[in-house]
């Protein structure tokens, strides 16, 4: 038995996970000073948005009150509803989880979702009530909620203030006493799970690994279980949190491995690394694969950058294996990719990161879900791009993905939440009252309604108090139509969208109106139309521009005049040509923005 504890912290967003992690790192001497910047959230974007996106691991040496030395491996997990998949793969590397509940907020929707994931993964759960220093802390109520909503004995909960450090030493002791040590299977052949990875231009792909059996050191020959590719290990080590070289990693350890894996597509998170000498070793079981729910097209603004985009995506997927992509060609936008994401936040963050980290200017199209289109021959086609829909005469019916959402909301806001949910085609499944203050609503929604700003609106109608989590709940036949958009008679495939029939006309009118506002006036009249099949359901016209002229002579400064014209032309290059019409990039995301406002 080795003195190792592998654990993670799971919580609803903003319940103080990163602050608690920092306090643990300080107590174990891994970091010395307290700054506002949280150590585990190393990406700029995470700090800006205050959420943890990528899981990472830190090794903390700890001398317990029993006098023994322990190694604590803290594996960080993201805290947003979109990132269940990343949570689940972090859980797989652990034996235990700290379930954190904000004493002033109580158990929220993601607390429940994450707790279920941890139970499913067979982890030992340590319930912790955090932020007990806050004046609004409701400790007894939190204990009650843990029992009522999760079946976890309330008296087992530890009381902690991550901010002030209260209770953290006891928590570290609880990690030692309650979470089991990983079983020692050092004598068996190597089997380790890849739970994360990153790409470095010198070292190639660096997998982050959890060893379940055997050991690995520099010089070993390893094999990737899924594709049988073999590599020589150059180096192994831990995160302290910097990468620190070690002589050997053994069963139960968490660390990294370098083997000059240059080809980006080779390593998949969730794969198992085994010893090349024992190709029969079984893969680590039970790994949950990501299921993209939201899709959108991305296109380089400059069509010459397509090659660069391809390379950027390959590298990006290595760092975020939950993204899927395939080639796509749009008549309006040229060559690009169709990307699949776990949810809307995931999409926003991923696109932002692609732009920032890879220096790419991108046009992203309106997000879509995957529809099941059953044609008149009875064949079911899974279609993630409205422009790929067959002609309506060949469609028997369309099914759309449904999610089951769990919404926890103070009783005062139940009315507005239900009103909002019904406007989004939600069907109430059940309403419970887990405590006197709050209601737990279970709704079935078409996923398409949720991806366009529902969560933000839920927050706003509940003054920020509602929390939500969801899971896919199958497909249901919907009364759906495909709406096409025509700009000066040319259909713009990237603007096609699927709408429920009842709202199709009003939605089309708003979109057409917005398009009229963002497309600049040009030298000719531009009709903007929305149509179902061949039937126009909305139309507005952009009148021709009347004035675009450089008059002044500047005492014969012709060069200046010429440069002004060149600059103007340069600005137009950022637009996409649809037939003869220059369409600005923002037009392709209008539908999304429109949803935010209505």
């Amino acid at each position: 038995m080795r003195n190792i504890r592998n654990f993670c912290i799971i919580a609803h967003i903003d319940h103080g996970k990163s602050t608690l992690a920092d306090r643990m790192l300080e107590l174990t001497g891994v970091i010395h000073t307290t700054s506002n910047e949280q150590v585990l959230d190393s990406m700029d974007l995470e700090r800006e948005r205050g959420i943890t996106i990528k899981a990472k691991a830190v090794r903390m040496p700890y001398k317990a009150r029993d006098g023994q030395e322990y190694i604590l491996n803290l594996i960080d997990t993201p805290g947003h509803v979109d990132f269940n998949y990343e949570v689940s793969r972090s859980l797989k590397a652990c034996e235990g989880a700290i379930l954190l509940v904000d004493a002033s907020q109580g158990v929220e929707a993601q607390t429940i979702a994450n707790a279920y994931l941890a139970v499913d993964a067979g982890l030992e759960i340590i319930p912790v009530i955090n932020k007990i220093d806050l004046p609004g802390a409701m400790i007894d109520e939190c204990r009650f909620q843990l029992e009522e909503m999760l079946g976890i004995p309330g008296e087992d909960a530890l009381l902690v203030s991550g901010k002030e450090g209260t209770g953290v030493p006891d928590l570290l002791e609880a990690v030692i006493s309650r979470i089991p040590s990983p079983p020692d299977r050092s004598d068996e052949p190597l089997a380790c799970l890849i739970f994360d990875s990153y790409y470095d231009s010198y070292q190639g792909v660096v997998p982050h690994i959890r060893l379940f059996s055997g050991s690995v050191r520099a010089g070993d020959r390893i094999m990737l279980k899924s594709n049988k590719k073999t590599f020589d290990v150059n180096d192994v080590g831990y995160f302290t949190p910097q990468m620190t070289r070690a002589e050997v990693l053994k069963s139960g350890d968490v660390g990294y491995l370098q083997a000059t894996i240059k080809e980006v597509g080779t390593v998949r998170v969730g794969d198992t690394i085994i010893s090349a000498a024992h190709p029969e070793t079984a893969a680590v079981p039970g790994f949950r694969h990501s299921q993209p729910m939201v899709f959108c097209g991305i296109y380089p603004v400059n069509t010459n950058d397509y090659g660069k985009l391809t390379i950027a995506l390959e590298k990006f997927q290595l760092n975020d294996s939950s993204i899927v992509y395939e080639k796509e060609t749009s008549a309006a936008l040229g060559h690009g990719y169709r990307l699949g994401f776990l949810g809307m936040l995931h999409m926003e963050i991923a696109l932002e990161r692609l732009k920032r980290e890879f220096g790419q200017e991108l046009i992203a199209t309106m997000p879509s879900v995957v529809y099941k289109v059953v044609n008149t021959k009875g064949e079911a086609l899974m279609i993630d791009n409205p422009s790929k829909f067959p002609d309506p005469v060949y469609i028997d019916h369309i099914e759309e993905p449904i999610i089951r959402a769990r919404i926890i909301v103070p009783t005062d806001y139940v009315g507005p939440c239900m009103e909002l949910s019904e406007s989004k085609r939600g069907k109430l499944v059940s309403m419970e009252h887990p405590d006197g203050r709050r209601a737990m609503l279970t709704y079935d929604f078409p996923l398409a309604e949720i991806i366009t700003g529902y969560y933000d609106k839920l927050k706003s109608v509940s003054r920020g108090y509602a929390s939500m989590d969801y899971e896919l709940a199958g497909y249901r036949t919907g009364n759906l139509v495909k709406v096409d958009v025509l700009v000066k008679g040319n259909q713009v495939d990237a603007l096609s969208y699927i709408s429920d029939r009842d709202n199709a006309v009003s939605k089309a009118r708003i979109l057409v109106h917005k398009l009229r506002k963002v497309i600049p006036r040009q030298q000719f009249e531009i009709p903007i139309q929305a149509a179902i099949g061949g039937k126009v359901i909305a139309r507005e016209d952009i009148v021709p521009i009347r004035k675009d002229v450089l008059a002044k002579c500047y005492g014969g400064d012709i060069t200046r005049k010429r440069k002004l014209l060149e600059k103007q032309k340069e600005g137009k290059k950022k637009m996409k040509m649809v037939g003869a019409v220059e369409v600005p990039q923002e037009a392709f995301l209008l539908l999304l923005k429109m949803e935010d406002e209505t």
Binding site: I545, K547, D548, G555, G556, D557, L565, Q568
Partner: protein
């Protein structure tokens, strides 16, 4: 044909829309500035010119004595005996009888008066120094002295409407001006007007409408629309400016002045003090285009001349058939779409495209 331009960078105060290089209130430097211009002129000694244009800023701020010194000095440096047109820009408040008489006396035969509008409200809204009465007085005076008179008019001043504009145009044409330059007001980056645009600023659409109404009005009054911003009675077109659009040579003296000589375009730095210290060392931004680019530039410039237009044969002659072919291809493409009018060998910008000519010119230049 070669023109001489002298830039006078002084103003009483800066107008709210102005982004030309001029400095308000530094009139004490005028004497030394004239001397600096004359020093610079020696660098290009013995060139001959057919037109002279004193622009600004406000050249009428020079006063009679400095004006005489300047012109006499230029006559010593250059051969000015062939001058057929000499223009001085004046502002109504400084276009005194004394100044205009001196101007006539030293050889100017044309004045361009910065009238801009004959509505006191509009003038005030952009910080013009003069009022309508002063403008009328200056025009009357110049005409009485037998100058060819051109006036500047701004389309799109705050509060402007067709009634006020028509009134300005009617008064000016009745007085007998032979030439009008009409510019649409542009909000140039960094100017007070751009930073703080008043609510009464006409929209682009209204500007376009006003410009079109004004253009028809002037047509009825016998003025030809010979260049995008310029209208003249027959035979009164501005030769100096025509030379710009015909891609002719010109020398610009003074700070911030631009030149086109020997196939090169160059420009003096816009820095009065640097100019005073070293008038012959201010050239920057020397540019010499290759033959293809030159052909495109000339095409772009000549298309501004609405009735004269561009002759394809002339272009091929000057730049070589092959070099002209690229731009002629572009012109033919646009002619097919109705953006230009062509008879197969010459091209013109149709009057209906004047106000939306930028994209056309951009395509002439860049394809």
């Amino acid at each position: 044909m070669r023109g001489l331009y002298v830039h006078i960078p002084f103003c009483v105060r800066k107008c709210a829309y102005c982004d030309f290089y001029s400095l308000p209130g530094r009139t004490e430097l005028i004497g030394s500035y004239v001397q600096a211009v004359l020093s610079e002129s020696t660098k290009y000694a013995d060139l001959s010119f057919q037109t002279l244009y004193l622009g600004g800023g406000t050249p009428s701020l020079l006063g009679g004595r400095n004006l005489r010194t300047l012109v006499n000095g230029l006559r010593r440096s250059f051969s000015l005996s062939e001058l057929v047109e000499s223009t001085i820009e004046v502002n109504p408040e400084s276009a005194t009888a004394e100044l205009l008489e001196t101007a006539w006396d030293v050889g100017f035969n044309r004045v361009s008066i910065g009238v801009q509008s004959l509505s006191d409200g509009e003038l005030k809204s952009v910080g013009r120094v003069h009022d309508a009465a002063q403008a009328i007085e200056a025009v009357t005076l110049a005409l009485r002295l037998d100058f060819e008179v051109s006036v500047d008019i701004i389309i799109g001043l705050p509060g402007q409407n067709w009634q006020t504009l028509e009134n300005s145009l009617e008064t000016l044409t009745k007085l007998g001006v032979q030439h009008l330059s009409m510019y649409c007001l542009a909000l140039e980056h960094g100017t007070p007007l751009a930073l703080n645009p008043p609510d009464s600023l006409p929209s682009d659409d209204l500007q376009a409408e006003l410009f079109e109404l004004a253009s028809s009005f002037l047509g009825r009054e016998g003025f030809g629309h010979y260049e995008i911003s310029n209208f003249a009675r027959k035979g009164h077109e501005c030769l100096h400016n025509l030379n710009y659009w015909r891609c002719g040579e010109y020398l610009g003296l003074g700070t911030a002045a631009a030149s086109h000589l020997g196939g090169k375009r160059f420009k003096n730095r816009a820095d009065l003090h640097a100019y005073l210290n070293n008038p012959i060392g201010q050239v920057e931004e020397v540019e010499e285009l290759d033959a293809k680019e030159k052909a495109a530039e000339e095409a772009m410039l000549r298309l501004r001349l609405l009735s004269e237009g561009l002759d394809a044969g002339g272009l091929a002659e000057r730049f070589g058939r092959e070099n002209a072919a690229v731009v002629i291809g572009r012109l033919n493409g646009m002619a097919e779409k109705g953006l230009l009018v062509s008879d197969g060998s010459s091209y013109r910008l149709p009057p209906s495209r004047v106000l939306t000519s930028n994209p056309i010119f951009a395509r002439v230049l860049l394809g």
